[in-house]
């Protein structure tokens, strides 16, 4: 078991760096099946990954809001859930949902800490600039990369090494209605992610109409996401065409279109 924990810790280290560099694996659905494979239960990994993916949909760094750390949260919750529930996928999913929330939020604090430590890189960068040392810039990323990797790996190791037993006895002690409630919660919590998406995208009142349209297409007409997206592209094209014409007509002489664009997409 210790060997498995070390392998997962290494993966946490690599995925931690991937999150701030190549960004290839930063969603729960891409991470959980890998963990499931290592622990010998791909099916549980898939179910947990899909649930967490949907639960955290729309959760990402939007504006000043710093998101929970999905990477650490997914790795720890998936591992502990599979390790402490013997084979029952439903219980594993319910456990993962419960663990994903506190672990993601706690791990997020470590990222805040790292971005604060990274402030010292500015002094280093300034010295390199003063000496026009281009070769030296190569090394700038290595200390923060190690830190970021460690910020994911260390909590993972601690949680897995010391937590597995405790989680198992906690899961065993939980009454059935709590497990059932957690399973139901897994399909209600995505409302938060979706509401966050709405918060970021509903900039004008008229845009609500597209939300209504999407809802109707899928709830009454039962369209899947893919055909829905294609229809949406058609609507988007014509909406953009109409609003562009009215905007051009309203602005007319003054060429302020660039400025309005900047205001609208505030960081």
């Amino acid at each position: 078991m210790t060997m498995t924990i070390i392998v997962i810790t290494l993966i946490a280290f690599i995925l931690g760096i991937d999150d701030v560099s190549t960004k290839m694996f930063r969603r729960p659905l891409l991470i959980a099946p890998i963990i499931g494979f290592i622990l010998g239960d791909v099916q549980a990994g898939l179910a947990i990954g899909a649930t967490l993916e949907i639960m955290w949909m729309g959760i990402g760094n939007v504006g000043a809001y710093m998101a929970p750390d999905l990477i650490t949260g997914t790795i720890i919750s998936t591992s502990l859930a599979i390790m402490s529930t013997n084979g029952s996928i439903e219980t594993a999913v319910a456990t993962a949902i419960t663990l994903a929330i506190p672990t993601s939020i706690l791990a997020q604090q470590l990222l805040v800490l790292i971005q604060t430590i990274n402030v010292s890189l500015n002094g280093w960068a300034k010295r390199l600039a003063d000496n026009a040392d281009v070769k030296g810039t190569f090394w700038l990323i290595y200390p923060p990369a190690l830190l970021t990797g460690a910020a994911r790996a260390v909590p993972t190791f601690i949680a897995l090494y010391f937590g597995a037993g405790a989680i198992q006895s906690a899961v065993d002690a939980l009454p059935t209605f709590v497990i059932n409630g957690l399973e139901t919660a897994g399909s209600i919590i995505p409302a938060v992610g979706i509401a966050l998406l709405m918060l970021a995208m509903l900039k004008k009142f008229e845009l609500w109409m597209f939300l209504v349209l999407g809802f109707v297409f899928s709830s009454y007409l039962g369209l899947d996401i893919l055909p829905m997206t294609l229809i949406a592209i058609v609507f988007a094209y014509f909406y953009e065409m109409i609003t562009r014409k009215t905007a051009a007509g309203a602005n007319g002489a003054n060429e302020s279109s660039k400025n309005t664009g900047e205001e609208e997409y505030d960081l």
């Binding site: 960068a125 000496n131 209605f177 970021a200 809802f215 900047e262 609208e264």
Partner: protein, 274 residues
């Protein structure tokens, strides 16, 4: 205008773009990363050590955008650095600050709010049925856009150089794509409300004798009644409610709302309402 950077140089720019966010910090955000990414280009452009030093300092200032925006801005900056005279250099920084806002908005609405939810829900629905194709498909679709767009933006941005900005001012390309992505994203979100959020109640109204608890024809399922009026109406109600709470708190208590929803669901399940 002759362009000095070879394909290999652009590849180096791309590789350094990929590691740009590692140095993210609270003082200059991606300032250090930007300087590091553009440094090899500057070395090729400036033979004088003093000039190179100045240019590096100029690019170590505050900077932040979306990762695909970074690609465009890096490439356009590279093209501008080699095409502008010594007295026009300040213009490069104002170009950077002018582009980083709109491009971050575009990157967010195109990738975070539209592409990730679409592929995430497709991948998840496959994974729910136990198919390993789900995550593999999501990985491929995600990275074709994620990595592909980044590389394309470097090559295209460098080729266009300052022309990119002129083109954009004329046609307002960034804003137009943003508007379209926004509409697609919202329609997808509307669809996700009914496909992904599942709020169902087992409550029943018995018009007959409730004492005997007999299940007969006179038992009406509330869920069926709701489904006849509007399918997924409960999902819609929950989402709108969460949206209003988030809007009041300016989106800062998402984690707290999740915990409250969890506890509420457990309680409601206990009482047989959910």
């Amino acid at each position: 205008m002759e362009q000095k950077l070879t394909k290999k140089d652009l590849w180096k720019l791309f590789m350094r773009l990929n590691t740009m966010r590692i140095t993210l910090n609270y003082e200059t955000l991606q300032g250090v990363g930007f300087m590091r990414a553009i440094a090899p280009v500057l070395e090729k452009t400036y033979s004088d050590k003093e000039e190179l030093s100045d240019a590096m300092r100029r690019h170590a200032q505050f900077y932040n955008s979306h990762v695909n925006g970074d690609a465009v801005i890096l490439a356009v900056t590279a093209a501008m650095e080699e095409s502008t005279g010594p007295d026009e250099k300040e213009g490069i920084n104002s170009l950077k600050t002018g582009l980083m806002g709109p491009l971050a908005g575009l990157g967010d609405s195109l990738i975070k709010f539209t592409w990730v939810p679409i592929i995430g829900s497709i991948g998840a629905s496959l994974a729910f049925s136990g198919s390993i194709i789900g995550p593999i498909l999501m990985f491929i679709l995600y990275n074709i856009v994620n990595i592909g767009l980044r590389y394309y933006a470097i090559v295209y941005g460098y080729k266009k150089g300052i022309g990119f900005l002129n083109d954009n001012q004329e046609s307002n390309l960034i804003q137009r794509i943003s508007t379209m992505a926004n509409v697609v994203g919202l329609m997808v979100v509307g669809a996700l409300i009914s496909t992904i959020i599942k709020v169902q109640t087992p409550l029943e109204i018995s018009t007959g004798s409730s004492v005997t608890g007999e299940v007969g024809e006179n038992v009406i399922s509330i869920q069926e009644m709701l489904d006849q009026i509007m399918p997924s109406v409960l999902s819609l109600a929950v989402t709108i409610a969460v949206y209003h709470v988030l809007k009041k708190t300016k989106g800062s208590h998402a984690a707290m709302i999740i915990v409250i929803l969890m506890l509420l669901t457990i309680a409601l399940t206990y009482f047989g309402i959910l």
